[in-house]
Amino acid sequence: MGSQAELAFHAVRFGYEADGWQLRIPALALGREPLCGIVGPNGSGKSTLLKLAAGLLAPGAGAVDLDGRSVARMRRADLARRLGYLPQECPALFDYAVEQVVALGRHAHGGTLDLATAADRDAVARALADVGLEALRHRPLSHLSGGERRRAWLASALAQEPEILLLDEPTQALDLHQAAAVMEILARRAANGLRVVAVMHDLNLAGLFCDRLVLVQAGEIAADGPPAEILTENRLLAAYGDKIEVLRRPESQNPIVLAKK
């Protein structure tokens, strides 16, 4: 892959309102590990962090750089060829077919005339195959299940073929097996060089698949490291409160996080 892209936060501060809640990140480098998870309780700032990383929000102070260039100031098309972003929800205005949604991922690669090249068609075919929607490629979004729709969105982001892909809760509202399938798709792409950064709700899934976890708590990074170091009872009790309990898988000693009554 040659030199690896690095997405770096430098002394970033961000607040939606001047005197309200603030996200403060003195330093953070993303894009080194194959699969990095951003975890933390609701409202801690995970999605805001991801939007800052994607250049959708500009920091009030400090900077977010991709290899030294500010993401908020880069041309969106130039940025999109290197850095992908998939939001939590992609509400469709019209009833696109699956293949159309996936082909939209190639937007930043197209010229003014926007004729699909062989590279575009390959990327779309690969993405459809990876998420297992080849058979449904002509089906309209409205005829898909929630899980299939989410996989179609994911395929669109994969077809973009960026160096770093940011995902906001890619497994939200999916059944266990569907969620694991999505994580496996991401892990497979990560094994081929894609660097994935995903906001994760499910700590067990995050612990199982991620190489690194960033724990965000009340607008600050409370911990950052391998899952085994982050998913400890002490850290999680501090972040999530006392309605939580951490067990160990008997065979691997990997942590399992459960809710407690």
Binding site: K51, A54, G55, L56, R75, R76, A77, D78, L79, A80, R81, G84, Y85, L86, P87, E89, C90, P91, A92, L93, F94, D95, Y96, A97, Q100, V101, L104, G105, H107, A108, G110, T112, D114, W153, S156, A157, Q160, L166
Partner: protein, 327 residues
């Protein structure tokens, strides 16, 4: 390739209408007389055909096309399938501006195909667009609120036109009666030129943005992630749609629902891809407005029904049906 043949079908309808509709009207024209100029014989039929009917049909095709394409694009940037120049109040604002320029002698000034009616129509369209855009930016504004605001704005502008009319002599007003309801009967080559001066750049701007409108169909964040500069696309699309709507209003007054009917019909046929929807909406919207105008001339001959009144009667119920289905 089926998609390509659909574009050709729209193009064929557009061309056939352009060739056939000039023959429809109060005066029956003879083919031999109309084309008498070929053998150096300029006839009254030829004059009617080339100086009155043909520019009028062309005006209808251009105006309908501009409105339909503006509607198709506005529906995407406002994320509202019922948005179009009329329902957003843009046509109303532009008409008020154009009316002011036409009735106030000190506001009227013309230079070739350009005149102050266009300038004030643009100003009115810009004011209306600015208002609905700022409303849409507030996250709490629902889709229905936006439409309610747009339609209200149209009614306010219509009311303002009526108030101003009260101060104008009835003779002068008779001149504007048709225009007030949206009409193409003042058509000549000068008005075709005046429409083209604004509509052509507007339509060109929209066509350039077509490919950027597709990712917006899946939400602003998704589009931004895929490399679309959302603010820029919204701005240029609004400018293009504003130019097109103002151009139509300055020449033909407020014509409603073409921008709603045509894109909906086109999406049913070619799907939601804006790169197809925009040009096909232009062709179909143009054909639709020219057909309504021909119907208005034919049905009440030798009198005429203003085309804006016809599109409102035909398109209004569709708007209500779509509004009901959204619940």
């Amino acid at each position: 390739m089926a998609k390509k043949s659909k574009i050709y079908a729209f193009l064929a309808v557009f061309a056939v209408f352009l060739a056939v509709f000039p023959w429809i009207g109060a005066e029956k024209l003879s083919f031999r007389q109309v084309f008498g100029f070929v053998v150096g014989d300029w006839t009254a039929d030829g004059m009617i055909f080339f100086q009155i009917r043909f520019p009028r049909v062309l005006l209808g095709l251009l105006a309908g096309g501009a409105l339909a394409m503006a509607g198709a694009a506005l529906q995407v940037i406002f994320r509202n399938p019922l948005a179009e120049p009329w329902t957003l109040g843009i046509a109303g604002g532009a008409s008020l501006g154009a009316f002011l320029a036409r009735v106030c002698p000190f506001l009227w000034f013309a230079l070739g195909p350009l005149n102050t009616a266009q300038a004030l129509a643009l100003l009115g369209a810009a004011a209306a667009l600015g208002l609905v855009l700022s409303l849409a930016r507030r996250s709490a504004t629902g889709a229905q609120t936006l439409l309610l605001a747009g339609v209200t704005l149209g009614v306010v502008c219509g009311g303002a036109i009526m108030v101003i009319s009260g101060f104008i002599s009835p003779w002068k007003l008779a001149e504007f009666h048709r225009w007030l309801l949206g009409g193409l009967d003042a058509a000549d080559w000068a008005s075709v030129g005046a429409l083209a001066a604004l509509a052509v750049p507007g339509v060109a701007l929209l066509l350039v943005q077509a490919r950027n409108l597709n990712p917006l169909g899946l939400g602003e964040d998704m589009a931004a992630g895929q490399g679309v500069d959302v603010a820029r696309v919204r701005r240029w699309t609004a400018i293009g749609a504003g130019l097109a709507s103002a151009g139509v209003a300055a020449v033909a007054g407020p014509i409603g629902f073409v921008g709603l009917l045509a894109p909906h019909a086109v999406r049913k046929i070619v799907g939601p891809d804006a790169r197809l929807v925009l040009p096909c909406s232009f062709l179909f919207g143009g054909a639709l407005l020219a057909a309504c105008d021909a119907l208005g001339r034919w049905a009440a001959a030798p009198l005429e029904v203003p085309v804006g009144a016809l599109t409102a009667v035909l398109g209004g119920p569709l708007f209500l049906a779509l509004l009901a289905r959204r619940r």
